[in-house]
């Protein structure tokens, strides 16, 4: 019912990740001056690229929500931004580790990518508090989409401003002057990027399926046990698709749901 194709996506992601790690450790050559630590590049850079693209995708989904009033777009936007935030933290941590290893400091303000990454993280970290502070689910979805559209446009602008402000020392792995990556490294990098994209898509698909299943379960319980037996709905940062009686989950598309579905996992994050 929900999560169609999850198994195929899981298997593809598992295979791609395994292939990536095998290639990174046994095939990709050691970097001439950075040595083994350079291999974090195959995690850090794909994660960073996927994060930034995901924020823009989240903004596009939010714009679609504003345009079509279809609440499923809000759910997708929420999930994409949620997973992108987690990837953002991973990107910041791996970036800090790489900075410590190659420049000797945990944080380097001269690196525009790292700096703009931090600023983008600080902005998107307010997405969930903003959602949580609005109770009406319909308004929550609308306001969150407005925020997501603005923040999505902010990502490239911020990057331009920060890049212009810093004298770059970031390893320009794709640098045009010195000829860029060796072919072997480039090849492994492409595999790593594909694996990271698959991982991102898989996590999003799982979260969407989990939320929809939870709402479906709630609707079924209400129908089976009666309205009083199911705990009342609490405030949540997560979007709600369920109707006032908890039913109509699968049809939840265009209809506006007056009440939120309880979702402790979303509220905690």
């Amino acid at each position: 019912m929900y999560g169609k194709g999850l198994r195929a996506l899981s298997l593809a992601t598992f295979a791609a990740l395994t292939a990536t790690f095998a290639l990174v450790f046994f095939y990709a050559p050691l970097d001439a001056d950075q040595g083994f630590i350079q291999k974090i590049f195959y995690v850090h850079v794909p994660v960073a690229i996927v994060t930034l693209c995901a924020y823009v995708v989240g903004a596009i989904f939010a714009a679609l929500h504003l345009r079509t009033r279809d609440r499923r777009w809000d759910l997708r936007s929420y999930v994409v931004i949620h997973i992108a935030l987690i990837f953002n933290i991973i990107g910041l941590l791996t970036g800090a580790i790489w900075a410590k290893a190659s420049w000797g400091h945990w944080w380097v303000w001269d690196s525009p990518t790292l700096t703009s990454f931090l600023i983008v993280f600080l902005l998107f970290a307010t997405y969930q508090p903003l959602r949580f502070s609005i109770e009406d689910p319909e308004r929550q979805a609308r306001y969150a989409s407005v925020f997501a559209v603005m923040a999505g446009a902010f990502v490239p602008l911020n990057f331009i401003a920060v890049r212009a402000a810093t004298a770059t020392v970031h390893p320009r792995t794709f640098g045009s002057a010195d000829g860029g990556l060796p072919a072997q490294m480039a090849w492994v990098f492409v595999v790593a990027l594909v694996a990271t994209v698959l991982l991102f898509a898989l996590l999003c698909a799982y979260e969407i399926a989990a939320k929809q299943t939870k709402w479906q379960l709630r609707a079924l319980r209400r129908r089976l046990l009666g309205g009083e037996a199911v705990a009342p709905l609490g405030r949540s940062a997560a979007p709600a698709l369920g109707g006032p009686d908890g039913g109509g989950v699968s049809a939840g598309g265009g209809g506006s749901a007056p009440r939120a579905a309880r979702n402790p996992a979303g509220a905690a994050s």
């Binding site: 308004r139 911020n158 212009a164």
Partner: protein
């Protein structure tokens, strides 16, 4: 995004005190529909409110001067110049603007101004234009005093040669603050924690504007005398204004639907 054609120039959102001109005959109104008129009426109302019960502007002024005193002790310096001076000035203005952004829609929310705008047959973005213009004017007013205070209290080199360039930078910065501030204010006004939401959303979103403004103003305030205005940073600031201005104009409607 705007669905309501502005054929009806009359707005009911203006208070009784505002000197509203008499409503023109309907036929004439259709012939000479002026799209900016509702915005002007709303702006006049805001300026009148601030003139009769000054609230945001005096608070922003006091806050900025206090911040200069804090910077004096925090940095342990009698005078600053160059990048440091630009940073101190711009950060102070940014934080002062947050105070104004917090207050921008409070009267609309508490006294039913939103309902007035929604009931009036005008485009909702008229409210955005009016509020952004009001914030722009408040900030300009604050800066006239704040920059003078900054020149007297903290700035090392003479402020006069820097003044024309600084005016350009501050005008572009004010535009950024007005556009983003109005949107964030409208976003936060109906949340449960609006005083928390405004700074945590607005500050990161204004980082690019701050970078550009501080870098653009730095050579103007240099200790050796005012240098040339860096056009690169003015361009970044103008790009920021343009992108967020258009975006905010496009999405503001969705914040005023209920």
């Amino acid at each position: 995004m705007s669905e309501a054609p502005q054929t009806e120039p009359r707005t009911d959102a203006a208070p009784r005190g505002a000197s509203d001109p008499p409503v023109p005959p309907a036929g004439r109104a259709h012939a000479t529909a002026r799209p900016m008129r509702p915005s002007m009426a709303l702006l006049r109302k805001d300026l009148l409110l601030e003139r009769r019960t000054p609230e945001a502007v005096p608070a922003m002024l006091l806050f900025s001067v206090t911040t200069f005193v804090l910077f004096h002790f925090g940095l342990g310096r009698d005078e600053v110049s160059g990048q440091l001076a630009a940073g101190v000035l711009m950060v102070t203005l940014l934080f002062a603007a947050i105070l104004g952004i917090n207050r921008l829609f409070v009267s609309e929310q508490e006294e039913g101004g939103f309902d007035g705008v929604l009931l009036a047959p005008i485009d909702r973005t008229a409210l955005f234009v009016a509020k952004a213009a009001a914030l722009f004017l408040f900030l300009t007013l604050v800066e006239v005093v704040t920059v003078s205070a900054f020149a007297i209290l903290l700035l090392g080199p003479s402020p006069w040669p820097a003044l024309p360039g600084l005016a350009v930078v501050l005008a572009l910065l004010n535009l950024a603050l007005a556009v983003v501030g109005t949107l964030v204010s409208a976003l936060a006004i109906r949340t449960r924690a609006r005083d928390l939401i405004v700074p945590i959303v607005a500050l990161p979103m204004l980082v690019p504007a701050l970078i550009a403004a501080a870098r653009a103003a730095a050579p103007l305030l240099a200790a050796r005398g005012a240098g040339a205005l860096p056009t690169k940073w003015l361009a970044v600031l103008a790009l920021y204004d343009l992108v967020f201005g258009l975006l905010a104009y496009a999405v503001f409607d969705f914040l005023l639907e209920d």
